[in-house]
Amino acid sequence: MSSDDLLQPTLSGYSRPPALYHTTGFALAAFFGGPVGAAVYSLANTGRLARLRQDAPVIVIVMALALLIPMMLVRAGQFDAFADLAGMTPRAAGGVLLRGLGLACFGAIYLLHRRFFRAARVSGVKTLPSWLVGIAALASGWAANAALVNWILKHH
């Protein structure tokens, strides 16, 4: 970027200043809402960073891969073995698996946005209140988890 490019305004195009929703909300949405909850919450963050075009495909791929894991376990006939190993009923094992995958999605997406979270922290920027985004992520994640667990129970 040349010196003249550096002096082109960057922030005039934003309707709202870039910011991030609370990380605690993100972790809770991922834990209770599974991969879909993590994806919904992080898409809201990505929207506030005005990076939907760059980051949304990555987030959707991470979520899809996470959702594929339990489906592949079922298709491979390994889901019951997993439930036995965990010492749980298939329904409980499905729930725990989706929570673990939600946390894995949180970790992967956090890595994607880590520099923004750190930049906010070192420059003292306050995070946005995340009630609405958190509730939306939890509701959609809970519905997706319930649908997937039902599918697992039918097909395992």
Partner: protein
């Protein structure tokens, strides 16, 4: 013999002397007196705005700084101060336009590049923040603002890894508050709260009137309190530690319920107690201390 200053410049120098030492009451007294003689002097008005801004009278400060710009629209320090006020209010786009205007007039001012870089970092545009700090350091390799911006950018990018930007800042300005701030931020970010607390305490002894430092020391005192010690893995490794704690807890409790069921319940309650402690205690101690 009349020992009153006879020119606005002398009053302005006196006021600046007090402002530099955070003696805001004295500064305001001098300025009030000066402005009765020179009500339209831009430097006196600017120092008034500075004193109000430092005294957290933000609205009054903004009115005064806009008054300066009516009298002298080219007054660079007033435009910089207005940019700081806009940043504080979250009006980043307007602050950016002001800083760009200043940079077009003073294209070799490293300090302005540093300020613009800090704004970009606040607006989470890390790449541009880094480029601006680099550009500023081309004009003045020891500029405090640029070194500070570069150090913060590097902390944001590399976390706990060795930070060359911070080392440069500390070598060039070991005495500066910016260095202390950047060092404390980097130490906290890498989970070294006790060291950050000691450094911030030392800085506060040197500048006890600095409210920012007082707040920082208070927060670090809380984080460094003995009752927060059990939470150090969460402080040091952040969300990675939380995720590991949850998954590890579930796996260990499950394994225990199969292999040693008599241990599973006490371990589960201890683990749950720790989780609740990590949620409840940090906000509670902030209210207590």
């Amino acid at each position: 013999m009349n020992d009153q200053p006879t020119s606005a410049a002398v009053y302005a120098d006196q006021a600046f002397y007090f402002i530099e030492r955070r003696r805001l009451v004295d500064a305001k007294r001098v300025l009030a007196q000066a402005l009765t003689h020179f009500p339209q002097d831009p430097d006196l008005l600017f120092h008034s705005a500075q004193a109000e801004w430092l005294g957290d009278e933000n609205e009054a400060a903004e009115n005064t700084v806009r008054q300066v710009l009516v009298v002298d629209p080219t007054h660079a320090p007033a435009r910089q101060l207005l940019a700081s006020m806009l940043v504080e209010r979250g009006e980043y786009a307007d602050a950016e336009l002001l800083l760009i205007g200043l940079l077009r007039e003073y294209p070799e001012s490293a300090e302005l590049y540093g300020r613009y870089s800090r704004l970009m970092l606040r607006a989470l545009h890390l790449e541009k923040a880094e480029q601006l700090a680099r550009e500023g350091l081309r004009y003045d390799p020891e500029d405090n603002e640029c070194l500070m911006a570069a150090a913060l950018c590097e902390t944001a990018r590399s976390g706990a890894r060795p930070n060359a930007g911070l080392q440069k800042l500390l070598v060039a300005h070991p005495e500066s508050m910016s260095s202390v701030h950047a060092l404390v931020v980097a130490l906290v970010d890498s989970g070294r709260v006790a060291e950050a607390h000691r450094i911030a305490q030392g800085a506060m002894r040197v500048d006890p009137a600095n409210e920012h430092l007082v707040t920082l020391v208070r927060e670090l005192r809380i984080q460094n309190h003995w009752s927060m010690k059990p939470l150090w893995p969460l402080q040091k490794w952040g969300w990675g530690a939380s995720a590991a704690m949850w998954l590890g807890g579930i796996i260990v409790i499950r394994a225990l319920s199969k292999s040693a069921p008599e241990l599973a319940t006490p371990v589960a309650f201890t683990w749950l107690g720790y989780c609740i402690y990590s949620w409840v205690w940090p906000p509670l101690i902030r209210r207590i201390l």
